[in-house]
């Protein structure tokens, strides 16, 4: 091609062909290169993700909360002087009392109750103050009622005891129980997510990568699993397996892997025909190597995000089942169990619901925010 042009263009060809060899000389070696030098360092994808993750304050705060809750779930049950199954019926339903905070008037172990005036002497030793006095008409006539504030710890003979979050109906320490419950709920959630991830990854990868009839069969099966009504299925399975951590894991895994598997499938489907995948296949890479080394890293962001988001949903579902008496079995607490116990006596002893509710809301909020933050961090189009 080049020769043809040279031949057609006699002037040029003459010029070029007749250059003397002495006119050639090595340049570049000692010359200044005028290209601009690369400023800064090359940033890998992982580094880039980490930078965006760090830059988002909300995500960092959420992660801090998750870490704190996990640490508390590990050491919390041992911080309290009481174990989570230690019962003391005489100290039942003690309100929270925290050393230090009690001096400023909150969590000081006091409680406002309503009594008839004639019963006042029963409360003489623990009475702090009378808030108001009023009369109420009953069937037997007018009765004088009193709203009084009492020191429950004094009333139950537990003056030198501090239950930081109070005690439940059997006199068990709520602080120890709460963190033990958090521990169990977290173990359950992480186990379920891990198993879901494994199954979902394998099934989704196979369906998305190989396609064809394998994909069609898997898709139809997933559709059927997805349209099973969750509630009856869960109930029947729990009746079948009994309730406990292991049966609950089975119940959550049975339908839970479907979501992860379909998101993995989409990613594999999208990337399997890219040029670089084709290139490595041409060079003789095995399917497993292509899947693991070249496609999976692309899907990692989506997968990690959906895992982070499914942790709170497992905790939430377990709590829902606990409300129906189908969750983790006593005496082991879970957050859901504590919530449902607290719900039963909500009007009289709100502290039993307050602390578990706070922990579950914090935990779910933190995981949701972390999930959102991860989604942004893994999105390269948000690179600054």
């Amino acid at each position: 091609m080049d020769n043809m042009i040279l031949e057609k263009d006699p002037i040029l060809s003459e010029d070029i062909l007749n250059i003397d060899e002495s006119e050639f000389k090595l340049r570049k070696k000692d010359d200044i290169i005028y290209d601009a030098k690369f400023e800064g360092e090359a940033i890998s994808y992982g580094r880039d993700v980490w930078n965006r993750f760090k830059a988002d304050k909300v995500t960092v705060v959420a992660t801090t909360f998750i870490v704190i809750i996990i640490i508390m779930a590990i050491i919390g049950p041992h911080l309290s002087k009481f174990t989570y199954i230690e019962q003391n019926l005489e100290h039942a339903y003690l309100p929270p009392r925290i050393p230090g905070l009690e001096k400023i008037g909150i969590f000081d172990g006091t409680k406002v109750i309503t009594i008839q005036k004639k019963n006042l002497e029963n409360y003489q030793d623990c009475l702090l103050k009378v808030i108001r006095e009023y009369s109420m008409s009953t069937r037997t006539g007018e009765t004088t009622m009193l709203d009084i504030e009492i020191d429950v710890y004094k009333q139950k003979g537990a003056e030198d005891v501090y239950h930081w979050f109070g005690t439940d109906s059997l006199g068990r320490d709520l602080f120890a129980r709460l963190w033990q419950g958090t521990r169990i709920s977290l173990i359950l959630a992480f186990a379920v997510v891990l198993i879901n991830l494994t199954i979902g990854l394998v099934v989704g990868a196979v369906a998305g990568y190989y396609g064809g009839w394998i994909d069609i069969i898997i898709q139809r099966a997933l559709e059927i699993i997805n349209s099973i009504p969750q509630l009856p299925l869960t109930l029947i399975l729990i009746m079948w397996f009994g309730s406990g951590i292991l049966p609950l894991i089975i119940v959550f895994v049975l339908t839970g892997w479907v979501g992860i598997s379909s998101s993995v499938r989409v990613q594999f489907y999208r990337y399997k025909n890219r040029e670089y995948v084709l290139a490595s296949r041409t060079m003789g890479a095995k399917d497993s190597r292509i899947m693991y080394k070249y496609i999976l890293p692309n899907a990692a962001g989506t997968i990690i995000t959906s895992c982070a988001l499914s942790v709170p949903s497992v905790i939430f579902q377990e709590a829902g089942l606990s409300y129906l008496g189908l969750g983790i079995q006593a005496p082991n607490p879970s957050i859901g169990q504590l919530l449902s116990d607290g719900q039963k006596v909500l009007l009289d002893y709100p502290h039993l619901l307050l602390f578990p509710a706070l922990v579950i809301v914090l935990l779910m909020l933190a995981f949701n925010l972390l999930g959102n933050g991860l989604r942004d961090a893994f999105n390269p189009s948000l690179r600054q």
């Binding site: 349209s227 099973i228 509630l231 009856p232 029947i236 919530l339 579950i360 779910m364 949701n368």
Partner: protein, 318 residues
């Protein structure tokens, strides 16, 4: 379109039979049976029941009888939970309050969710948006039963504005509706938050697209561009999200019903399973599955109704 609907219906019917079969075999192969109920002692009664429900036959044969009955819309009778009452009647009686709660909460959810979603997207990155977004993420993170408990404690117990539990009245009058407000609130907050989050994301994406610029360029007013071009496109996924939320709320309202003492359908289901009242369990499961499958089809079709570009199936070969 018709072809697509028929295809979907056949697939759904197939899924339906599989689900019912699985439920049947799991239930009937569970240890213990209806007869192990200690309240039934009479030998002849036990014989009669065994005969009536073919309990001495192998399971597949029983399944044959079962399917034959269901084909004739005979759902059998409840044995333990409501002895002698037709399963269909039990469902009919209990479904009322569940449906009422769900419909009211849907009516409450949709306009409010849409309002917040739209205003948040239009005022994106303003203080209003930040405040609403924080509330939305908080509400999504708080389990519905925690919201229910908080509402019950503060609004009903401390302030006394609403009754603590549902009024035990059958017909729907003002007093009943009044006592339904708190459960409706508890059920809708989560859905409101999800709808506004979704709508905000959709609408703010639409607002930056090229055709919005074109609409502005050809001289439409701001409100015209929003109503005619942006909203219509942002609402495409709304219908299906809403239908899915509706199904989700129906099946997850159990805890809320429990807290507010609502005699709903899910309560029957739990007691039926506990009492091994298999006929009733299967009847209720049948009902839940039916609603779930039909809603899933409706959700898929709704895309085509809202957005003329997505008329799948019909254009498969051209």
């Amino acid at each position: 379109m018709t072809k697509y609907i028929i295809q979907r219906l056949i697939a759904a019917a197939f899924a339906f039979i599989i689900i019912i079969a699985v439920c049947f075999f799991v239930l009937y192969s569970m240890p213990g049976s209806i007869i192990s109920n200690p309240t039934i002692k009479d030998e002849t009664v036990i014989k009669k029941i065994e005969e009536k429900y073919h309990l001495n036959e192998p399971l597949p044969v029983q399944f044959g009888y079962f399917i034959k009955d269901y084909m004739n819309f005979d759902f059998g009778e409840s044995l333990v939970v409501r002895p002698g009452v037709k399963v269909f009647d039990v469902i009919k009686e209990r479904i009322n309050v569940t449906i009422q709660l769900n419909v009211f909460s849907a009516l409450f959810t949709l306009p409010i969710g849409m309002f917040f979603g739209i205003t948040m997207a239009l005022k994106k990155d303003s203080v209003y948006d930040y405040i609403c977004s924080s509330i939305v993420i908080l509400v999504i993170s708080a389990p519905s039963f925690v919201i229910a408990a908080v509402l019950q404690y503060f609004l009903a117990y401390k302030l006394g504005w609403f009754p603590l539990t549902l009024a035990p009245i059958v017909e729907l009058n003002w007093e009943k509706f009044y006592s339904m407000i708190l459960p409706i609130f508890a059920m809708s907050f989560g859905s409101i938050a999800s709808i506004s989050r979704m709508l905000r994301a959709e609408l703010s994406e639409v607002l930056t697209s090229d055709y919005m610029l074109l609409a502005k360029a050809k001289g439409l007013t701001y409100s015209q561009t929003i109503v005619r071009h942006a909203l219509r496109n942002a609402c495409v996924p709304l219908a299906s999200t809403f239908l899915y939320l509706f199904v989700w709320v129906i099946s997850s309202s159990l805890v809320i019903e429990n807290i507010f003492g609502v005699p709903g359908l899910s309560k029957v289901l739990v007691s039926a399973i506990n009492a091994r009242d298999h006929q009733l369990t299967l009847g209720v499961t049948y009902f839940y599955t039916l609603i779930g499958l039909l809603m899933a089809i409706a959700a898929d079709l709704s895309y085509g109704v809202v957005d003329p570009r997505i008329r799948m199936g019909a254009k498969k070969d051209g």
